[in-house]
Symmetry: C2
């Protein structure tokens, strides 16, 4: 792409560094900013800078938070003895939206991925293991995505806490509520049969 202005080109280049934003989309976004009052661009820049330089992580669960402890960890009504292990803050938001979970979280910050050069040391695994070893935790729920990286991470943590007297569970995999069986993939359908639950239990949750 040939730009008629170096300023425009620089802005488009910087914008297209964001994931999923190509040069064309970046140009569209930048031209939109040009049509808007200057204050809009200033606000965007300021909000991004403030966020990037002042953001905090909860000292307990590594969730993004403005305080030392996030709202969930600071809430005395939540069960500290259950920890749901998730990849990032979006998973916390998704599970919180269900209103089905009253325990704590632990945000790993990613998954072990040798391909991307992410090892256990890059994640917050050590502090999770520490929490388990302190003995207050009764159950660890693995809620990572079921990819090879997710499974590897689950297994690595599982080995690290071996010997601790806690229950480890993983979220149920199965057919989505409302989905037709014939369109489900084989692995998911297979698991949903293997891990079937008593019918009475399913009645209670409706």
């Amino acid at each position: 792409m040939d730009f008629s202005s170096k300023l425009l080109e620089n802005a488009v280049d910087a914008m297209s560094q964001l994931p999923g934003i190509g040069k064309r989309t970046a140009l569209r976004l930048v031209l939109h900013l040009l049509k808007q009052p200057e204050a809009k661009t200033e606000l965007l820049a300021q909000r991004l800078l403030e966020m990037r330089s002042n953001i905090n992580f909860c000292s307990n669960c590594h969730n993004i938070s403005d305080q030392t402890l996030c709202e969930i960890c600071a809430n005395p009504n939540r069960d500290r003895s259950i920890i749901c292990v998730v990849e990032d803050i979006r998973d916390v938001m998704a599970i919180e939206n269900t209103s089905q979970y009253r325990g704590h979280y632990h945000v790993l910050g990613g998954k072990i991925s040798p391909m991307e050069g992410i090892g256990p040391g890059d994640l917050t695994i050590a502090s999770l293991v520490q929490k388990v070893k302190e003995g207050d935790v009764k159950e660890l729920i693995f809620a990572l995505s079921s990819t090879m990286e997710g499974d590897t991470t689950n297994f690595y943590i599982f080995k690290q806490i071996e010997g601790a007297s806690i229950t480890t569970t993983t979220i149920a995999r199965g057919i989505s509520v409302g989905d037709e069986l014939e369109y489900a993939d084989e692995v998911t359908l297979g698991r949903s049969i293997l891990h079937r639950i008593p019918f009475e239990t399913s009645l209670k949750n409706n």
Copy 2:
């Protein structure tokens, strides 16, 4: 969406003001910035601010430019007597990419759209009419999109320059090169028959 941090929420809100960026995408982009070094966010903010506050428009054609005259208008080898009227800078870039055009441009900055509250006064129509009245222009090529707004804008300009001894043309509409006739829409196919060209002419352009 419930955010665990006001800083994060503000950044996501600002980002999701951009066209085509919803809250989810904005969150993904913002979390990406959080994973990158702080310098990346600073660079993005700085490039956007620089662009927004220092950008210039060519005094002749209203194209975006770092100089008073854009490269095209400043180029003595380009034909000043032909002006291609386009909606925005992306159209200039698209036509320049074809290497088929050696005239000047005139960037309107939009189309007349009563629905969006854009009247002739919001566009650079006055300076185009002025250029035509000064008498150096021989041909005006309308290259706006063929929507109701585009057609209205073309017609408005056409009426404004009525009486000036210039040729007005519009870019050819027809079947895309390589497309199958059976999949073309009726209007386009109809126009391509109505505005058929001598076969010898098509041979010359291949």
